[in-house]
Symmetry: D2
Subunit: 377 residues, 4 copies
């Protein structure tokens, strides 16, 4: 079945595999008149580009994006925006062996079971390179959301066992520009200096042991007006959960206090309301900005758990495609951790989800429809 399209109103369709000619995305439903240049997108792609630190695969790709359609005289036309990045550094020889066996923790076995065979070069469609299309589309969503007053702060909360100390609330009330700079100043995208250093040590020791690590990405979205999301299946948090869980390697998702709410009680978990600048405002944010699937005006806060990279050079036990047990050691160029590169992917998927629901929200009231068509005439 088809499964490469995400979104209802602002829709992205991604294509491409690790060692094919390139990776791309078609963005359909982008409103007309948004100023847009390749450089708007390139900045986001650069955040996930490989080879930028010793904690990332050494594959050399500049991941330069090309706009193939949908932009005229510097503005989106309202028709599909087709974006493409060419694959440059495909060293398929690294993957010759992989054809014959199933790598633990990878999708090799499941692809074979599903399709009867697979493009074994670099993971084919299950490669992390597939996320290029998401980030390219997400960059456009972010640009549009920015014009609506919405900002993202996304970073690594934890790398393996090393975690930052500040709560989301503390970060939000801190010096946001400084935090943003701190995030970009270390290869792990952590918003605090000490854990960032400690985490790098931890990663170095993982690599020595031919091992890999996981972590937690946290995302905070500010400026979202109350009312976004639909009350039943298309809840804002439900759609975010799908969006984030559709990123390979994500094994957990939680919003606000998340799993901690299970051991909490109503008295401490409920967010009381007060009045601020003549409007209702929540006095705490255990809910993470969403009630009944609909944004409540408070910052949206969620976390994703990301598993350790399955590609490790340590010896592993598996079977070959004939079902015989074999021992393997994965060579090639792999990330010892994908958390830092996943940060911008998480942000992109969140932006796509939010924008999609914000467009959908425009018709929630008959009066909005009447107002719009009165203005049109």
């Amino acid at each position: 079945m088809a499964g490469s399209t995400f979104g209802t109103h602002f829709k992205v369709t991604t294509w491409g595999e690790s060692h094919g000619k390139g990776i791309g995305v078609v963005v359909d439903g982008c409103p007309a008149g948004l100023p847009l240049a390749a450089s708007d997108i390139q900045g986001y792609l650069d955040r996930r580009k490989p080879g930028q630190s010793r904690f990332s695969t050494q594959r050399k790709e500049d991941d330069a994006v090309e706009i193939l359609s949908g932009v005229f005289e510097g503005k989106s036309t309202g028709t599909p925006i087709s974006l493409m990045v060419q694959n440059k550094d495909q060293r398929s020889r690294d993957y010759g062996d992989i054809a014959s066996y199933y790598r633990p923790g990878h999708a090799d076995y499941t692809f074979d079971m599903k399709y009867g065979f697979r493009d074994y070069r670099g993971g084919g469609r299950s490669s992390g390179r597939e996320t290029i299309g998401r980030v390219a589309g997400g960059a456009i969503a972010c640009k549009l959301l920015k014009t609506l007053g919405i900002s993202f702060l996304t970073y690594a909360r934890a790398i393996g066992p090393v975690s930052i100390q500040s709560s989301p609330e503390e970060l939000l009330h801190g010096d946001l520009a400084g935090i943003q700079q701190q995030i970009l100043s270390n290869p792990l995208y952590m918003p605090e200096e000490a854990p960032a250093v400690q985490a790098q040590d931890f990663l170095a020791s993982c690599m020595e042991r031919q091992d890999s690590a996981g972590g937690v990405v946290e995302c905070m979205i500010t400026g979202v007006p109350a009312g976004i999301g639909e009350p039943v299946f298309d809840k804002l948090d439900a759609n975010l959960a799908k969006a984030i869980f559709s990123i390979g390697a994500v094994k957990g998702f939680e919003i606000g206090d998340g799993f901690a709410t299970a051991a909490s009680t109503g008295r401490s978990n409920n967010d009381a309301l007060g009045s601020k600048d003549g409007r209702a405002a929540f006095l705490s944010n255990h809910a993470g900005g969403i009630l009944g699937g609909i944004s409540n005006g408070a910052p949206i806060v969620f976390r994703a758990a990301i598993k350790p990279t399955p590609s490790i050079s340590a010896t592993q036990q598996t079977v070959n495609t004939s079902g015989d047990p074999v021992e393997i050691s994965i060579r090639g160029r792999h990330d010892p951790i994908i958390v830092p590169r996943a940060v911008v992917v998480v942000e992109s998927m969140a932006a796509l989800t939010l924008l999609d629901l914000m467009i959908g929200h425009m018709a929630s009231r008959a009066s909005s429809l009447e107002q719009f068509y009165r203005d049109v005439r």
Copy 2:
């Protein structure tokens, strides 16, 4: 926007609110020829029916389901199956006050922000009664999945701070019939006796303190063949995440080792493959049965964190619809915990998700299509 439909192939559309005439669901895309009677569905609805223990709202509803269409001579016809449950015990007077203020932890404020007003009786569409439609649809999905060899084991892993001791693996290798019986023998649907008793004590003390509790629901699905799920956006885990997160009160979702994988490493988190009965088989199940978004043949294991019921009779601070601070104490008939009643809702949403992707998987190979149409002629 529309948001009351779930699924692509096996599609449910739910309708109804707490104090309207009833609650219903239209199940579209159910294959023809499935034997189906109201009693097949009633059993599932009874598992979420209110008033069955002192830990559940005392609202009296028999929640008797009626099949309005789509079944002829005891079998599904292939056309939409319309199911309805009438609301019987609507005591709207309990909710008179609610119109004027926003209950903390509820969707009152967000509905008003979205739609400009709301059906304030019993939460309207954001009421837990909305899940009746999901469970009715899920019951049909479960019946069909059973014919495909698939079983569910769903229960409360934790009630507040009280958790069961066995791991999912241990439960799966235990006496399943006995566990199933243990689950049904206590009002909290816990699969171990001691924590079930301890949790009831904990809940009783919560109620005394005019407080409420949360917990964790765990679901295990066995018999799922490898190959189910789509590799990019419609990953089996992504669709499960959305399905489960679309249930009100869910604040976290994780699969397999979930959040624990973040602090794990590749060496310990990867599931090695071996050979069993001449087939590849995984020697452990940290992944929870899914790799690259596609089932790998191992049991699917996931958990949902459920927040404490927001309705508590303790005094709370909030604002009224004019924005003035008020103190409230919620009367009426409320569940001190919704975890036990959520168990069957979680199972239903998982069944809907899985069946939808299993139907979609039928066309994954050109050879399947050719085989099907060869057989048809």
Copy 3:
């Protein structure tokens, strides 16, 4: 597969069969705050109700609609509106024989081929009663469109070989109130008196010969602003074509000059533009109000060809379900023509299609999105 839902933004899901408990529709995506009562819908249903003239089946149904959800204190709440009509006069005995053979022109054979069996009572889901859900949903769409300044004029252009004389243009420039009254004053919904009389004579002679007749329904929509429809697959005319062709018995659809354009030339078929009230305006309307799939501000004009009712009491040749040739004569209560009753169905489907695209159009420009969210804050 599922196929009982129509629309993307304003979505209807219909259910029910001829001799089941009832027929219904769930309308999802209706904006909140629309004043709505059962009487708004009943008026539309009455236009398709059986037994209103000798040219319609004598089945006795009052087709009284009940609103089951989604309306509170007289206004739509933004959540699903569930509507139901109970079947009252199910004389299944009329259909006992039908189980054993395939009626020519009906869907008996194709349902059996698709599903392996069928609900043979009155055509089951392929009965004309299925359109009750469409009309009930269409009534709501019409009410909302009216607040946006949009009106419909729908009528029988031809009954068998008898056609009205005026062109759509002439009707539009005539006395609309008088025409509307003329349409409602004859059982065939024709806008001119002489052909209406002549057509009734023709139908009477058909009935005497145990035969049935077809015709052409024409629909004109005025007040549609320019800009509605999407340029590629979701063209306004493409979506209308699907909507109208999804009504049983429709065998042709054309817009503007339709099939006549095939023999026309560019010089005569192009509509020149001029200026009217300081705006561009088309000086003719060969296009039927749509260019490149998008409304151009002129009235939308389309026609549907409707085949003769397949149920005739004359002897017909067919086969039974074992494949043996049999001769049959269809008894029971049948319409000698369905064109008059199809008029309101055509209008309803057109309304659903148009409203859906009008909601979608709200986000066509980035500036609209910005304006909306500026107003919200």
Copy 4:
């Protein structure tokens, strides 16, 4: 809103405009294992390539297709197939003037009304070049349908007032190989020699008069098993109607006897059933192969009316973007008729529609699902 995706199971998303970098399509949901090469697709694109006769635009494009993803070792992988054709001969200077006024019969005015501005070069997204993506996707659908025993015969039934003489039935019972050859032997794709010659004379005289012509495309699909299509909104004929009407310039669509059924009667329009090779078979085909929206095993026969090319060099009256009346004469390279080039577009859209519903049909019976998953294990 998004509107560039067609299909539910076999899904195409097209992108690109006349004078951008290229035109493309992403085909998602193609089953794995289909042998596929660029040459399979190129043959279809060549049938719509410009400049192949004097009755087609003289723009020089080789329209060479490139497969960017989704094919590995000569077979589809089950993941998205991305196809692209580069634009080579973009002479934008031809279109400088067009920016300032609205061409009659084109989408210039409606695009401006919708989006606030437009890519005026060659019609931008409303250009006929947009159909390249449809044909590329359709070629893949046709290849898959061929393995299922399904064939297409598509041709021009009429060019302006010149029509072929044979009925669809006569053509189907004729020498199909000879007819196929006759179609390809004349630049108008007509299946009879005399009208093809006459039509060329007619077109030559149109061109002399600076005028353009329309026509009728007819398509016959053989080998479709009974049972394809869904009974309510996703009727096979409804989806075909949308598919064909989504092609620019189509103004009418009819199936089987189409508009002629309106003046027919039940006695003559019903297709009687008989027995053939031990199976039920229809003795005539007024229905065009579809009953109740579901294929009945007889050939599917439909027609599309195509309007005259709106671009003519004769002087025309219109307004400029400021609303002032102007007289224009359209220069540049235009087709005096698009019917011949539309033939393969109609066939492609029909193939996409049919394949989509054939995939959907696989799950119509519970027994099929059970059989499939029994085979899988």
